[in-house]
């Protein structure tokens, strides 16, 4: 197992390299640059700026320079937020996004998982229909509708929560964004869980457990649930990577200083270094969570033990 994890870490390096390379050149194919503004910058100033940031050099030299700096942990300065380096921006924003996304994920897995199990156990009964209805609503109502509705009712009318802001991470400020992030995930988890639990409950070894007179707890939790967890784990990996790297919609609506908005804003402003930084961070999280998924798979299912 350790050998397998090590091997996966080694293969992550070329993967990251390919991602960085493709993103770097794709970014440069897009027309414009970080200092092309509507008003038009004084050409002398623009040239100076480009010299400072090495943008006047040939592209391959810039690429090699970027790689070299990246190897030393230097993501470079942000072009549009010149007071900060990319690393500083992530150091400030990432913990915020991770807290919100992580909480939303854990809650979605717990609540969604329980709802899915209940629905499977009461298939085609009222409880099942209620869960299906909730799940459908959760996955069809977009975040940009849920978030303002939350603000309208719970913040402006009932005044239970602030409308927005981070408030230095006060619990009360996190409720809205976490709920909004959680709901669509919860819907997917509940539906997945219901389906895989129903399938699991129908399998032959559950029939064996029943024939042996085991208790409902043993049958449902020990035998049915464990096998039913696999699809949830597969879904959870990529979902986790997406959640902890922030959401532009939720962070914008609730004025949260996370990293979710960087990707879109930086891409629009041709803030090359910030885009690259975001790509690298998302890639690392994706690789990491996929590895965690594979390890969890092996823990749950002995047939998937590696090497």
């Amino acid at each position: 197992m350790l050998r397998y994890i090590l091997k996966r870490f080694l293969t992550a390096v070329p993967t990251l390299f390919v991602i960085v390379t493709i993103s770097f050149f794709l970014m440069r194919v897009a027309p414009g640059g970080p200092f092309n503004q509507e008003k038009g910058l004084n050409p002398v100033i623009k040239a100076n700026l480009e010299r400072v940031y090495h943008l006047d050099q040939p592209l391959w030299k810039q690429y090699l320079l970027y790689l070299w700096n990246l190897l030393h942990g230097d993501f470079g300065p942000s072009y549009n937020l010149p007071d900060f380096t990319v690393a500083e921006l992530f150091a400030q924003g990432l913990p915020v996004s991770m807290q919100l996304g992580g909480s939303a994920l854990v809650l979605a897995l717990l609540i969604g998982g329980c709802l899915g199990i209940i629905a499977a156990l009461y298939q085609n009964h009222t409880a099942d229909y209620a869960v299906i209805a909730t799940a459908t609503a959760g996955s069809t109502i977009p975040t940009f509708v849920i978030a303002p509705l939350f603000q309208l009712f719970f913040a402006l009318t009932l005044k239970w929560f602030p409308v927005g802001g981070w408030g230095d991470g006060a619990f009360i400020n996190k409720v809205g964004p976490v709920l909004t992030l959680m709901l669509p995930q919860l819907a997917v988890v509940a539906r997945l869980m219901r389906g895989s639990m129903i399938e699991s409950l129908r399998s032959h070894h559950i029939r064996t457990a029943r024939a042996l007179g085991l208790s409902d707890y043993a049958i449902i939790i020990r035998h049915a649930l464990r096998g039913a967890l696999l699809p949830i784990i597969s879904y959870g990996g990529p979902a986790a990577a997406a959640l902890v790297t922030g959401s532009i919609i939720v962070e914008t609506i609730f004025s949260i200083p996370g990293v979710g908005r960087y990707f879109v804003e930086a891409a629009l402003n041709r803030d090359y270094t910030l885009v690259m930084g975001t790509v690298v961070v998302i890639a690392i999280f994706t690789i990491l969570f996929n590895l965690i998924v594979d390890v969890l798979y092996a823990v749950v299912d002995p047939r998937v033990r590696y090497d």
Binding site: K7, Q123, S203, H204, H205, R207, T208, A209, R210, A211, L212, G213, L214, S215, D216, A218, R222, H223, R226, G227, V300, D301, P302, R303
Partner: protein, 534 residues
């Protein structure tokens, strides 16, 4: 007189389906005495399994049981689950047909064995563990202590069924219900499991209900028999008496469904049509990035076959013996080494393009009548699909006519050709698969377990159909089967395969009545000890 431990009175099972209520069991009564083995015989759909599932409270959620299933005076039907669970798994246990999937794949067999022991006998882990090891020894699992840590996927089908039996018997039940426990196993394994069950039943003095479609097993193991059809018991009686003097026509039909007859070998002048010399198929396992060199496994090892026109060669052997692989290699569906000659031509090195015109003459019919027909095509389209490749010039109308004719040849109503596979029964589907092969006027047909998934009566009809088609079209068959009774009725030459090599071959009478190789002897003993009126 032994006391009655289970008595069913007027048992009914009804399933509510989208098409309305379906009565699977319609008022069945039966009883089992202590230490007695009772067989319930019937074909698929007769309700024999559902009857016992209802007794055990194991019906699917859309099933409803009614009637009385009395275990020593307690009616199990409608009993609250908590009370039911003090009886099932403790006093009455059940084992099933699917040894591959009936154990939880995620826990070691030790865990699974200990669970019901600890649950019912309220034992601690240590005591349960020694009881579990004792049970594994009882069912002859070698190295029982070490095997406790094995996962089901690390064991063969026969071993898994032994573990299932150990689980079922661990709490000293009064009654064991066995639902086709050997059907999915190879003949030799089947014989071992039956022997084990019969021995344990005598030793432990429990009653046993044995659900099966196989009359040989009934003859061998049961004291009394109930014959079921369409959810009702049509006949019951002592085994010997029932077999000697069946009263109900259905029972007689079941008994007569045993395949009979012999095939005469083709005349000595019949030309050789398909010749394989030293055919070898190897598979590579593993290998790749950081994993070292792959292991080479020879699924077929230097086998030579010579099939003449009008001949049927029966290839027998257990699963994994390489019989299907050999047939696929001969048809050039798998890469192989060695020489293959078809109709006087060396085809071993022909490429895909060169093989294509020959394909119509080399056809195959597979075992699974459910998986081998595309569910999205009509039966007529399935049957004529080969014509699109091999006779692209004929018109749609002519193709349809050919389909109708092929349907007649396999004795299906041509009007059915616009239906989809799911609308046909297993036997009808197998006829469609046969029609798909013979519509191309082949010379050689590989029949890969074509009757294994079918009930005996249907099996008999398919065998007769295959025989008729053979004599009408002078076909050559390579007939693969693990069912020796069927092979004996179909083939004029038999090859016995084990671990990729041919261990013995010859005429059916020689191989089956005077086997030379120890493995063949074991195989024949397992299969025919039953038919010797035992």
């Amino acid at each position: 007189m032994a006391e009655t431990i289970l008595e069913l009175k007027d048992m009914r099972v009804r399933f509510s389906t989208l098409d309305g209520a379906v009565d699977a069991v319609k008022g069945v009564g039966l009883h089992v005495k202590a230490g007695e083995t009772v067989a319930i015989v019937g074909e698929s759909g007769s309700g024999k399994s559902q009857l016992m599932m209802a007794t055990m409270g194991l019906l699917a959620s859309n099933g409803q049981a009614a009637g009385v299933a009395s275990y020593r005076g307690t009616n199990l039907v409608g009993l609250p689950k908590a009370e039911l669970n003090t009886i099932r798994g403790r006093k009455i246990t059940m084992i099933f047909q699917e040894p591959m999937t009936s154990l939880d794949p995620l826990y070691t067999i030790g865990d699974q064995l200990m669970e019901p022991i600890m649950h019912h006998q309220k034992l601690g882990a240590g005591a349960a563990r020694s009881r579990a090891i004792e049970m594994l020894k009882l069912v002859h699992i070698p190295e029982a202590g070490r095997r406790m840590g094995s996962y089901p996927y690390e064991m063969s089908g026969g071993q898994r069924q032994r573990v299932m039996i150990a689980m079922a018997l661990a709490n000293d039940p009064d009654l064991l219900i066995a639902d086709e426990p050997t059907t999915a196993l190879d003949v030799t394994i089947q014989a071992e499991i039956l022997e084990l069950m019969a021995g344990l039943q005598q030793r432990l003095g429990m009653g046993m209900v044995f659900i099966t479609h196989d009359l040989n097993i009934v003859k061998r193991i049961a004291h009394r028999v109930y014959v079921m059809r369409y959810g009702e018991v049509v006949e019951e009686g002592e085994t010997a008496a029932l077999f000697a003097h069946p009263r109900h026509p259905y029972t007689r039909a079941l008994l007569e469904a045993e395949p009979t007859g012999r095939k005469a070998p083709p005349p000595a002048t019949a030309p050789r049509i398909l010749d394989g010399t030293g055919v070898t198929v190897s598979f590579k396992i593993g290998g790749g990035f950081l994993s070292g060199p792959p292991i080479v496994l020879k699924a077929v090892d230097r086998v030579s076959v010579s099939l003449r026109q009008g001949q049927t060669i029966g290839v027998v052997g257990e699963s994994g013996s390489g019989k299907s692989t050999l047939a696929r290699a001969l048809l050039r569906l798998l890469p192989s080494e060695g020489a293959i000659r078809f109709d006087g031509r060396d085809i071993a090195r022909l490429d895909k393009e060169a093989m294509r015109p020959l394909r119509k003459e080399l056809q195959i019919v597979l075992q699974d009548p459910f998986g081998s027909l595309s569910p999205r095509m009509t039966a007529g389209q399935i049957v004529t699909e080969g014509l699109l490749v091999h006779e692209p010039s004929i018109s749609r109308r002519d193709r349809d006519l050919r389909a109708a004719r092929a349907f007649e040849e396999v004795q299906l109503d041509p009007l059915l050709r616009n239906r989809y596979p799911h609308e046909f029964s297993g036997g009808q589907r197998q006829r469609i698969a046969i029609a798909r092969a013979i519509i191309l006027k082949p010379k050689v047909v590989v029949l890969d377990e074509p009757t294994s998934a079918l009930d005996r009566q249907v099996q008999k009809q398919i065998i007769e159909l295959l025989r008729d088609l053979q004599s009408a079209n002078n076909l050559s068959y390579l007939f693969i089967s693990h069912d020796l009774a069927v092979v004996r009725a179909m083939a004029d030459h038999i090859m016995v395969m084990k671990n990729g090599v041919v261990v013995e071959q010859g005429s059916p009478d020689d191989v089956m009545d005077h086997p030379q190789d120890p493995y063949t002897q074991r195989l024949m003993k397992a299969a025919f000890v039953n038919t010797a009126n035992g």
